[in-house]
């Protein structure tokens, strides 16, 4: 790994559910994601991929282990502080895009900026328009998101994830709900953004072709990170 470390975790443990239904979702997972690189997490359903993603995205807390953004440990931070860091440092993309359906594409992209509050209304508008233009939606700014196609909605979600210029983009099966063409297009878009803007991308996917195109592929099973591969090279953990 050559770039600066954007996000890392060490010995993560996470239990989900209560009593008899309690599941050991993560078992001693350690991972590093560096700027300008693409990481894929693969594995069967229920192996802990999404749980890992939510912990790295500061949406959930591990029962043991630590998460660091840059060189700062954020495990001990309050809910408020975690929300602030999430707003500044992390962009999420979900399988079902999860746009605000009553909002236009333009407004959807402005939502994270409104929370961060660094830009005024005009600056937010300009930045959102530029981001939508970058994902080829410059002509659909004012269209309500529910009137966009699935592929277009996912591109709006990508633009929204980039709204606050985050260091890390976390994507939970970002192409899982798209056809092959749109999947390819969305992934290419993400790849270009990561390369050009020196972002770190960690995506959970079941799509083998997309995983193979990433710099690193992390394989999970039963809560364990069982292997991490770089392009062709396999490193046992």
């Amino acid at each position: 790994m050559k770039g600066d470390i954007s996000l890392s975790c060490h010995d993560l443990e996470r239990y989900l559910g209560e009593e008899e239904e309690r599941v050991h979702a993560l078992r001693g997972v350690s991972l590093q994601v560096e700027a300008g690189s693409l990481h894929a997490v693969v594995g069967p359903s229920g192996c802990g991929k999404s749980t890992l993603l939510y912990i790295l995205g500061l949406l959930d807390r591990p029962d043991a282990g630590s998460v660091e953004v840059g060189s700062t440990s954020i495990s001990h931070l309050s809910d408020e502080e975690l929300a602030r860091r999430r707003s500044e440092l992390i962009g999420f993309i979900f399988q079902f895009h999860f746009l605000m359906e009553d909002f236009t594409a333009h407004e959807n992209v402005m939502i994270p900026m409104r929370r961060l509050g660094y830009l005024n209304e005009n600056e937010m508008r300009e930045r959102a328009a530029a981001l939508l233009k970058a994902v080829d939606l410059g002509d659909k700014l004012r269209r309500p998101s529910r009137h966009l196609s699935g592929g277009e909605q996912q591109r709006v979600a990508i633009a929204r994830a980039l709204a606050n210029d985050p260091q890390v983009i976390l994507a939970d099966e970002p192409t899982g709900n798209l056809d092959t063409d749109n999947s390819q297009r969305a992934f290419e878009l993400l790849t270009n953004i990561v390369r050009e803007r020196e972002k770190a991308l960690l995506l959970v996917t079941h799509n083998r072709f997309i995983a193979d195109a990433c710099d690193w592929v992390h394989e999970m099973k039963d809560g364990y990170l069982i292997a991490s591969h770089s392009h062709g090279e396999r490193i046992s953990v």
């Binding site: 979900f94 399988q95 929370r115």
Partner: protein, 412 residues
Amino acid sequence: MTAPLYIALRFATHRKRALLLSLVGVIFGLGIFICTQAQTQGFAQFFIDSTIGSNGALMLHSRFQPRYEGMVVAAKSPRAAAARRNYFEGINNVSEIMRVSREFSNVVACSPVIRGTISARAGFETTTADLYGIDPTSHLRTTDLAKQIVNGSFDDFRNNTSSVIVGYRLADLLEVGPGDTVQLLSPGGEYWRFNVAAIARSGVSTIDSGRVYAHARVAQRLLKKPYEASMIIYKLRNPDRAPALASHFEDLFQHTAQSWQEREEGNLQIFSTLRISAAITVSLIILLAGFGIFNVLTMSVLSKVREIAILRSMGYRRIDISAIFLWQGALIAGVGSLLGCVLGALLTLGISKVPIHIRGLLYTNHFLVVWDWRHYLWATMLAVVAVFIASYVPAKRAAQLQPVDTLRGSSL
């Protein structure tokens, strides 16, 4: 505009029908609350104005002396103290008491009255009447008698010592009007003849159905009273402070003093009970509107679970999520209060024009209303509190939602 306010506005305007229903509840609740308060207080205020306008805000009558009871333990309450007095009918040193009374800043004017019960006869009708012997000039300054004249002239009364002013309902009963003659029976058994100079209507049934005003000296002779006045009535700058002044006057003049609040205690309690009853009834409407808002916002939270999770993933804090739903409540409370106050004013105006024939405790031909800014303030406060409570629970619930549960349920 803050991010939660912006999102709240968008959420609220998206659910237009639900928003409209919530608003209608608040608007009608407020409007009816204001209108009923204006009415009930309108009747009460009319009664108070009429009774003060006729009998003054304070009355000073019988002289008293504390009874000497040797070793009896001193009374603890004013009522018990009053029971241990010797009373002497009438006031003898009227001029001196009035001179001292006028030194008090709250006293605008005062007027002596000699009072007694007589029989009045006109034609074939005879009835008992309450004779008020007055000094026209000072009585005019102290009461609203001149304004209460509905037929005839106060000047005719002033210029003719053998004339009387007769209460409106009494005049009806005796079938007399200005220019007619009425006979008043003295305690000695003689009928005295008087010209009716005017008919007065105070609006208060008990006054209008029994009162006859005559000149003080004539009344004193007719009633065969040895003293100048049975009582002194006062017009006060601030009638609300009458009880305190009454207590002070009792100590100062050693005469019984009675405020209008004490005098009309029974009637005031009826009005107060009616007003509270109306307020409770109408508050239920606002409460129901609150339940409506609670339902609307709860449904909104349930339908926005996914959006809440997304907002949290974008860095929105729990407090921001709460604020989104509290802002929606605030929006309903703000717009609802504003429109509710307008509706309340329109209803009050409308109801004041409605004809009504009341000839009981009060005399009126239309609904009586009071325009009081405090009704609007109370109604708004009530609505704001109800809406806040209705919004708080859904807002808290929204803030407590775990985004991971929603996201995991949608993506695994």
